[in-house]
């Protein structure tokens, strides 16, 4: 329990700094694809996190990123939406006999195919929400949609890489 709190706090700080100081400057195709990897913090929360706590964490995480980008409310809104949808989605893609206690939503625990489905859908939902609120209109619907899809792919690739590089140690812990 204490371990969970510590590791999640560490991850929170790590991803916020990574996003705020490095990834916000990174983009492909003239700003069409921007990675928002910080939502990995929400994606990696334990499966049994209480839903109210998850919503609050989403809000706080989004607000801090908003402070870096001067867009107060936009990331917060998208993160709250993500935090609301994640438990519902987790339930709908659960294995036949449910999740085991202590199982984490990572590649090491759940396998590659499961993770791509899990992260891909949630990242796409978050990014679409984010980009459509950012433009605040449905003008240029397809441009915004393209940005959301390309950015989602970018984030997903980075998310999978992070899983293999940064959290590799966990495999031996688990096995």
């Amino acid at each position: 329990m204490i371990n969970d709190i510590l590791s999640n706090t560490g991850r929170f700080i790590f991803f916020i700094f990574l996003q705020g100081l490095i990834l916000n400057d990174l983009n492909l195709f003239d700003g069409m694809a921007i990675p928002y990897l910080y939502i990995m913090f929400i994606l990696m929360l334990p499966i049994e996190t209480p839903r109210w706590l998850e919503l609050i964490l989403g809000f706080v995480c989004g607000c801090v990123i908003d402070m870096f980008t001067n867009t107060i409310g936009i990331h917060a809104s998208a993160c709250v939406a993500l935090a609301f949808i994640r438990p519902l989605f987790l339930k709908s893609i659960a294995p036949r006999d449910g999740y085991e206690f202590g199982q984490k939503p990572t590649i090491q625990h759940m396998g590659f195919a499961w993770y791509i489905k899990y992260a891909g859908v949630l990242i796409l939902i978050h990014h679409s929400w984010l980009f459509f609120i950012e433009v605040y209109s449905l003008n240029g619907f397809f441009t915004t949609l393209t940005r959301a899809v390309l950015s989602s792919l970018f984030t997903l690739v980075l998310a999978v890489l992070t899983q293999y590089l940064a959290f590799k140690k966990k495999v031996s812990d688990f096995a």
Binding site: G31, L55, T71, I72, G73
Partner: protein, 278 residues
Amino acid sequence: MRNFIQFLVKYQIFIFFIALQVLCFYLIYKNNSFHQASFVNSSNRVIGTLYSWKSSITQYIELQRVNDELSAENEELRNKLKGTFVNVNDHFVMINDTLRERKYRYKSAQVVNSSINKQLNYLTINKGKKEGLKPEMGVINQNGLVGVVKDVSEHFSTVIPIINMKFTASAEIERTGSFGLLRWDGNDIRYAKLKDVPSHADVVAGDTLVTRGASAIYPKGIFVGVVKNVANLEGSNFHDITVQLGNEFNKLRYVSVIENLLKKEQRQLENQTEADDQ
């Protein structure tokens, strides 16, 4: 009543979710009004300090280019020095020039953070209230117009650059004087649009676009960019003008903030005139 409480208990998470969303949208809406004194932005102390650390590391990478720019500017300024000119006619000596009054004062600042990949891009600069900056001051550099100051804190300020969809400025074609509204369409950081120029106005690709100096934020005649393309939309009374911006917003390092010393007077007069109309 019991049903209502049951309803609340059953949907408590959903209600909490909606409440947080309402809060978020309230914040977005509140931040939308121009230069709202919002305390949560990157001109606040913590984020501003973080960004200046980051900038102190990354600026080494750009030293070469910045040096080139500075020496080019030095050269240009040296060419304007009094010493480089010879008096052709020295019969007249001008003493105490009372015909002119200082109208603009410039203050140089360093960009410590900038975004270019969003629809609402902002810059953070390392001068603030302490150095006399106020919201709605113009920001330029040697390549032309940059933007306008939004919020100021003790040591930092945020700037709305041209490449922010909330930015507008009045600009005119230098050759003919016909003017329109400069806006960014959110697509490419190299180009902006000039709106509201009637289709009978004479505009061709290659025309120089400068500020009009109407809003008392920038002086008249600051370079903005060059007209790249003029299209005539069928059924529209206005030109669709694409402007290639003078500034490369992905390479901004040093800017000057302009203080208009006569702005208060101009605004007061304009407000009084408007008030008289009502």
